[in-house]
C-alpha cells in the first residue's frame, strides 16, 4: 500500500484556510491551532480528509473556563484532540468562545464520536453546539439548574443565605418554600 508523505499540519491548514488560523502555540511538543469558531467544521473536514494528514480519530473534546481572568480572546475554550493513526501523531484545535454567546458549530458530521463528547460539554459548561442532533444533558439530571464545571459554579455545600442573595437561593429551591 502506498502511503502519501506526511504533511506539516500547521502549514497545510494555513495554506488552505489563511483566515481560519488565529494563532499557533507550541508547548512540550504539542501543537495547538487556535481556529476561528465559524471555521472549525471546514478545518476539521480538511484535517480528516486530506492526503498526508488523515486525522481520522477524534481522541477527545474538552473544554476549559478562563473565568475570572480574561487575558484570553474569550471566556471559554473548546479543545479538539485529534489523532492520526496512520502517522501516529496528535494535534489540538482550539476555539475561544465569548461569555455571552458560547456557540460553536458541531463536528458530529465529521467524527460521529463527537456526539456524546459535545453533549458532555454542553452539560458541564453550557456551551451550545449548533446543529447537534441530540443536545441533551448526559451526566447531570435533566432538571439540573446551571452548568457545574463553570468556574463560577460553587464546588458544593449549601450557600450561606444573606439578605442580598436570599432571593437567588430560594429561586433554586422550589420545595423549601412549600
Amino acid at each position: 500500500m502506498h502511503i502519501p508523505k506526511a504533511l506539516d499540519p500547521v502549514e497545510a491548514v494555513k495554506g488552505a484556510y489563511p483566515n481560519a488560523v488565529l494563532d499557533v502555540v507550541q508547548f512540550r511538543d504539542e501543537t495547538t491551532l487556535v481556529i476561528h469558531p465559524q471555521e472549525i467544521v471546514s478545518v476539521a473536514r480538511f484535517l480528516r480528509g486530506t492526503n498526508g494528514l488523515i486525522y481520522n480519530y477524534l481522541s477527545d473534546i474538552s473544554s476549559v473556563d478562563y473565568f475570572p481572568d480574561y487575558n484570553r480572546p474569550g471566556r471559554f475554550g473548546v479543545c479538539y484532540h485529534l489523532l492520526s493513526m496512520l502517522y501516529t501523531r496528535r494535534i489540538r484545535l482550539k476555539v475561544y468562545l465569548p461569555e455571552d454567546e458560547p456557540v460553536v458549530p458541531t463536528v458530529v458530521n465529521v467524527w460521529p464520536a463527537a456526539n456524546w463528547l459535545e453533549r458532555e460539554i454542553y452539560d458541564m459548561m453550557g456551551i451550545i453546539f449548533e446543529g447537534h442532533p441530540d443536545l441533551r444533558r448526559v451526566l447531570m439530571p435533566d432538571d439540573w439548574d446551571g452548568h457545574p464545571l463553570r468556574r463560577d459554579a460553587p464546588l458544593g455545600y449549601e450557600t450561606v443565605m444573606f439578605s442580598f442573595n436570599v432571593d437567588e437561593i430560594n429561586k433554586h429551591k422550589p420545595y423549601a418554600q412549600e
Partner: protein, 424 residues
C-alpha cells in the same frame, strides 16, 4: 385487637414536580415513529439490572424481541471528580483518579501522573518507570479477570466467575503489599511511585507468574471451544473497523475488529518500547473476537511482566527534585532544607504553568486521556478525562441495533464498560 384502619390522604403533586414526569413526546426523534403509535414497545433496562455492570440505564425500543433503538442513559455514578480536582493541589488529586475506573485504578493514576509530569517538566527515574510497567500490566490482568468473570456470568457460565475472582485475590494481595490498599492504592504518583518495592513483592510476583498461565489455560478449556459459548457470541455485535474508529471505540474492542492500534506500541510511554510483546488482533469484530483478544492480552501482559521483573534497575524510585517530591521522613531530622520542602509541599504544593497538555495511554479498556490545564498556581484550572467506557457506551446504541434482547447482554459485557469510568 384489630388495628385501626388509617386512611391515607392522597398527596397533591405540586405543579413544579409534574413537569419532571417523562412523556413519549420527549422521545420524538430519538425513537422510531412506530413507538408513537404503540406498535413497538418501550422497555426500560436498568439502572439496577445485574448485567449492566454498574448503574447503566438502557431505554430499549423493541419489536417483539428485536431491538429497534437502544438509548443508553448514564450519569447515575457521576461524582464530580473533575470539579473536585480543580480545588485540590496536584498531589492531593491523585486519590480521586483512583475512583474513576475502579477496576484499573493504576491506569488512571498513570495518566494523571504523566499529565502532571508533562505540564511541570518533572523527571521520572528509570527504576520508577519499570515498576510502573509492572503495575500497569498487573492492573490490566486484574481488570481483564473481572471482565472475563462477569462477562461469562452474564452469558450463563458461572464457574468462570469464581475462578477469575480466585486469581484476582492474588493480585489484590500484591497491590496491598505495594500500597497498603487492595483496590485503590494511589501508588503511581507524579515523579515516580509512592514507595519502593517491598522485599516480599518480588517472590510473590514470581509465584504468580509461574501459577497464572495454567489458569488462563483453564479458562480457555471452559470457554474457547465450548459450542454453547461460540453459539452465543460469534457473529453478534459486529463492529466494522471504520465504524469503530468513527465512533471512538478504542482498546481491545477496536483491535478485535482488526485495527492494529495500541498506544503502548505506537506512542510508547514509560519505556514500553523496550519490551517485546505482540498486539493481538481479531478478524470479525464480534463478541467472540473481543473475548479472545482479551484472553491473548492476558498472556502478552505476562510476557511484559516477565521481561520487566528481570531488569528492574537500581536507584531512586521517585524523582529527587525536592521542589515537587517531598523528602523521605528520615531526612527531616537532619536537614533544615528538607523540613522547608516538606512544609511547602504539604501546605501549598507546587505550581504548574498556565498551559495545557493532553496525554493518552492504553488502559485495559482502551484509550484513556487526560487534559490538564494549569493556572500558574498550585491547583489546576481544568482536568478532563477522556474515558474509554464513555465512548463505548455512546457507541452501544449503534452496535446493538437489530439484535435480540438476549444478545444485548453479551454485547454490553464484550465492550467492557465500567460506569465509574464513564460517569466520573
Amino acid at each position: 385487637m384489630v388495628a385501626p384502619i388509617v386512611k391515607v390522604e392522597p398527596v397533591a403533586i405540586p405543579d413544579s414536580m409534574k413537569q419532571w414526569e417523562g412523556s413519549l413526546e420527549q422521545l420524538r426523534g430519538l425513537v422510531s415513529e412506530r413507538a408513537m403509535t404503540g406498535e413497538t414497545m418501550l422497555l426500560n433496562m436498568g439502572p439496577h439490572h445485574p448485567s449492566t455492570h454498574g448503574v447503566l440505564r438502557l431505554l430499549l425500543e423493541l419489536d417483539g424481541e428485536q431491538i429497534v433503538t437502544c438509548l443508553p442513559d448514564v450519569g447515575y455514578l457521576h461524582t464530580g471528580i473533575e470539579k473536585s480536582i480543580e480545588s485540590k493541589s496536584y498531589e492531593k488529586a491523585v486519590p480521586l483518579t483512583d475512583r474513576m475506573d475502579y477496576l484499573a485504578p493504576m491506569s488512571n493514576n498513570m495518566v494523571f501522573a504523566l499529565a502532571v509530569e508533562k505540564l511541570t517538566g518533572l523527571d521520572v527515574p528509570e527504576r520508577a518507570q519499570v515498576i510502573r510497567v509492572i503495575c500497569l500490566e498487573l492492573t490490566r490482568i486484574n481488570s481483564h479477570l473481572v471482565w472475563l468473570g462477569t462477562h461469562a456470568l452474564d452469558m450463563g457460565a458461572m464457574s468462570v466467575f469464581l475462578y477469575c475472582f480466585r486469581e484476582r485475590e492474588y493480585l489484590l494481595d500484591m497491590f496491598e503489599m505495594l500500597s497498603g490498599q487492595r483496590l485503590m492504592g494511589s501508588y503511581i504518583r507524579p515523579g515516580g511511585v509512592w514507595r519502593d518495592l517491598p522485599a516480599e513483592f518480588m517472590p510473590a510476583l514470581e509465584r504468580f507468574i509461574n501459577y497464572f498461565p495454567g489458569k488462563v489455560d483453564d479458562y480457555e478449556k471452559i470457554l474457547t471451544n465450548n459450542p454453547l459459548w461460540i453459539d452465543r457470541t460469534q457473529g453478534i455485535g459486529v463492529i466494522e473497523p471504520d465504524e469503530g474508529i468513527a465512533l471512538g471505540v478504542s482498546g481491545p474492542s477496536l483491535r478485535a475488529s482488526g485495527v492494529n492500534w495500541d498506544i503502548r506500541k505506537s506512542q510508547p510511554y514509560s519505556g514500553y518500547e523496550k519490551y517485546d510483546f505482540n498486539v493481538p488482533l481479531g478478524e470479525h469484530g464480534d463478541v467472540y473476537d473481543r473475548f479472545y483478544v482479551r484472553i491473548l492480552e492476558l498472556r502478552e501482559s505476562l510476557k511484559i511482566i516477565q521481561q520487566a521483573m528481570k531488569n528492574v534497575p537500581g536507584g531512586a524510585f521517585r524523582s529527587t527534585n525536592r521542589k515537587f517530591v517531598p523528602p523521605p521522613r528520615a531526612e527531616l531530622g537532619r536537614s533544615m532544607e528538607a523540613v522547608i520542602h516538606h512544609f511547602k509541599l504539604w501546605t501549598e504544593g507546587y505550581a504548574a504553568p498556565d498551559q495545557e497538555v493532553f496525554v493518552a495511554i492504553e488502559s485495559p479498556r482502551g484509550e484513556i486521556g487526560c487534559y490538564l490545564h494549569g493556572t500558574g498556581g498550585n491547583k489546576p484550572r481544568r482536568a478532563h478525562f477522556k474515558t474509554p467506557s464513555f465512548m463505548h457506551i455512546s457507541a452501544l446504541g449503534k452496535i446493538a441495533e437489530g439484535h435480540m434482547i438476549a444478545d444485548l447482554v453479551g454485547i454490553i459485557g464484550s465492550v467492557d464498560i465500567v460506569l465509574g469510568d464513564s460517569d466520573r
